[in-house]
């Protein structure tokens, strides 16, 4: 029994890791006022880049770095469209998702069905992993898990307690006032979107080099969209994102646990998406005005405009 519980919790944390990484990234971007619906596409680009680089170099960490770089690069498109050109952020984000999924499919085609020789394995933390129950659950995880937790804490601290964080948040709340303080709102928004892209790409790298070790077209399976929903669920707070991400990780694991009970696998596959709607429904019931949303989210800002 104990072993089953440990295994379930462990797998929940693994499944929640990419969701947490993506959500923290999206929180940075949205706090600066830019809605980025490109997460799904950037995740796919990250996954395929990490896979290809790892495949050729045999070094998954090199793949990881390349994925972040690729994710940041492709996110520049969305930053340029939504910040410099003041385009509609919904459409621009969708375009980014299409492009990202398409590029990932195109570049990854020769690698379908060729599993990696190496992958990023669990990294037990000395001493801590020996603690009964808690040890194997929390301290014998993939490095991505530790990274996601550390980044969530780091971003929470950055947003709430540093000058940079104040600038990001005020760019999303009142860009005009921020500009009069001598802050370059456009630059802040560019950096936030690009950083968010790096986070999404890390989530993708986790999927293709740690969670599994092969590339399949469509392996992101809507996680990028769940991330957007989790950002709302977390009320744009990285610490709440930790809770949300692992809650959803649990739903992914539940899918596999309920399968032997004879429930239709197609019905089980609906669960994460149904849960996403449910979570937003609860949020909508709680406060219809969603008090914490950045005031200028998805509103283009042009310097000098009244």
């Amino acid at each position: 029994m104990e072993e089953i519980i440990i295994s379930v919790v462990q797998r929940t944390l693994v499944a929640g890791t990419p969701l947490l990484l993506g959500t923290v990234g999206e929180i940075i971007s949205e706090r600066s006022g830019i809605l980025n619906l490109g997460v799904e596409g950037v995740m796919a680009v990250g996954a395929v880049t990490a896979f290809i680089v790892t495949h050729h170099t045999g070094n998954p960490w090199l793949g990881f770095c390349a994925a972040i770089l690729a994710g940041m690069l492709i996110s520049v498109i969305h930053a340029f469209a939504s910040v410099s050109l003041q385009s509609n952020q919904v459409v621009s984000g969708l375009a980014l998702t299409m492009l990202g999924l398409g590029m990932a499919g195109l570049l990854g085609k020769p690698y379908v069905g060729k599993p990696l020789a190496v992958k990023i394995n669990a990294m037990p933390i000395p001493y801590l992993s020996d603690i009964p129950i808690v040890g194997p659950v929390l301290f014998n995880q993939s490095p991505f898990f530790y990274l996601a937790i550390l980044l969530a804490i780091g971003v929470w601290f950055m947003l709430d307690y540093t000058l940079l964080g104040i600038r990001i948040r005020s760019a999303g709340e009142n860009p005009k006032a921020t500009e009069t303080q001598g802050v370059n709102v456009s630059l802040i928004r560019y950096l936030s979107v690009i950083a968010g892209g790096g986070f999404s790409a890390m989530a993708g790298a986790h999927l293709s080099t740690s969670y599994s070790k092969s590339w399949i077209e469509g392996m992101t399976a809507g996680r990028g969209w769940i991330v957007i929903a989790l950002t709302i669920f977390a009320l744009w707070n990285p610490m709440r994102a930790v809770v949300g991400a692992f809650l959803f990780g649990g739903i992914f694991v539940l899918q596999y646990m309920l399968q032997p009970l004879g429930i239709s696998p197609n019905f089980l596959a609906m669960l994460p998406y149904l849960a996403t709607l449910l979570v937003l429904l609860v949020g909508g019931l709680r406060d219809s005005r969603r008090l914490n949303a950045p005031a200028m989210l998805a509103e283009p800002y042009r310097r000098g405009e009244r």
């Binding site: 398409g102 499919g105 809507g222």
Partner: protein, 360 residues
């Protein structure tokens, strides 16, 4: 020193808009060419294949029109909802729901009814199916302020699984050698084709009539005016006493319903039975987003942009076969062209001057 000055254009000319569109598409094609080079594909060869495959032969052109039918139907409906800034990304599953409803009617009532009765009934059922599935995100947004982008996408995944559940389970035909398909529709429920093609004329006529009517509705009626005001200035809409909820629900009924009609067309005109979601719709719901955008959200122009993108779909199939490229190639096209189109919008709306020297 170089300075970039941006100012609003006072007048937006039709010619300027059109030229910007053409330039944006051309720039997009260049970018796609570069992406092809990165992926190790000769771009000239690929483009030649795409356009000769879709517009270069009579056979190809007939296929292009066949694929334009769902794009025109869905794109027209999306033009309407996008005008009100309601981001329906769920047309893909509204199409599937229409296919499910239409198939049920065809299978159950088709054997007893003649074609002139059963075909309109199937289209009606498909419209209702799509409208029902489209109404859900409208209500979720109005009642619980759930972002429609997320809800429509989640409903896409849910509907695809639901359809699969039906065809592997209760609706599975015993006559299909174990494949997860439904029975064939009865003869009377199958749409007749233009001879020598796969063009199901009934749906084509429905599609063209629908977008023409929709254009008149948008630009000539009070309802259309309300839709436009909601999109352009929601505050003004509130002060003008426009019923936001009623309008939102109505446009989603129309948009979802039109996608549902497309679903009936695909099943009754092409496949004749229900099978896997990807077989019933090859991403029409997503491609139609760009179709609507390229048409500047004017349903009548959707006819032309629909044919253009149908050509890319058909040509995309051609290069998949001849160059061994994945299905995702079409997504690269769609994404890149959409990015260049929205960038083009900026230059339609704004005057950009690059000045040399000191800022004036």
């Amino acid at each position: 020193m170089l300075h970039v000055n941006v100012s609003n254009r006072e007048q937006i000319s039709a010619l300027g808009t059109f030229l910007t569109l053409v330039l944006a598409l051309a720039a997009g094609m260049v970018a796609i060419g570069l992406l092809f080079i990165i992926s190790g594909v000769n771009p000239f060869f690929a483009f030649k294949k795409i356009f000769s495959g879709s517009f270069g032969s009579l056979y190809g052109f007939k296929e292009t029109i066949t694929k334009a039918i769902p794009l025109i139907l869905i794109g027209g409906g999306l033009a309407l909802v996008f005008k009100a800034k309601f981001w329906n990304i769920g047309a893909e599953s509204q199409l599937l729901m229409g296919a499910i409803f239409g198939t049920w009617v065809g299978l159950n009532w088709g054997p007893a009814l003649p074609a002139p009765v059963i075909v309109p009934l199937m289209f009606l059922a498909g419209f209702l199916g799509g409208a029902f599935w489209g109404l859900i995100p409208a209500i979720l947004k109005l009642r619980y302020s759930i972002n429609e982008v997320i809800s429509t996408l989640m409903l896409n995944y849910i509907c695809a699984e639901f359809l699969t559940l039906l065809i592997v389970g209760p609706w599975k035909s015993p006559k299909k050698f174990g494949f997860p398909y439904t029975d064939d529709l009865p003869e009377s429920a199958i749409l007749s084709l233009l001879p020598g093609s796969r063009i199901h004329t009934a749906t084509l006529i429905v599609a063209v009539v629908a977008v023409v009517v929709l254009t008149i509705v948008i630009y000539k009626t009070r309802f259309g005016y309300e839709v436009r005001v909601i999109g352009e200035n929601p505050d003004a809409a509130r002060y003008a006493g426009i019923d936001f909820s009623r309008t939102t629900m109505l446009i989603m009924v129309i948009s979802g319903g039109m996608a549902g009609l497309a679903g009936v067309g695909e099943v009754a005109g092409i496949h004749h039975y229900l099978s896997y979601p990807d077989a019933i719709s090859s991403g029409y719901g997503f491609t139609a987003i760009i179709v609507a955008w390229l048409a500047k959200l004017n349903p009548v122009y959707v006819i032309f942009s629909g044919i253009f993108f149908a050509g890319i779909l058909v040509g995309g199939d051609a290069i998949q076969i001849s160059l061994g490229l994945p299905a995702a190639t079409v997504a690269v096209f769609n994404g890149t062209l959409l990015i260049f189109l929205i960038m083009g919008d900026f230059f339609t709306k704004n005057k950009v001057c690059i000045q040399v020297g000191e800022r004036a």
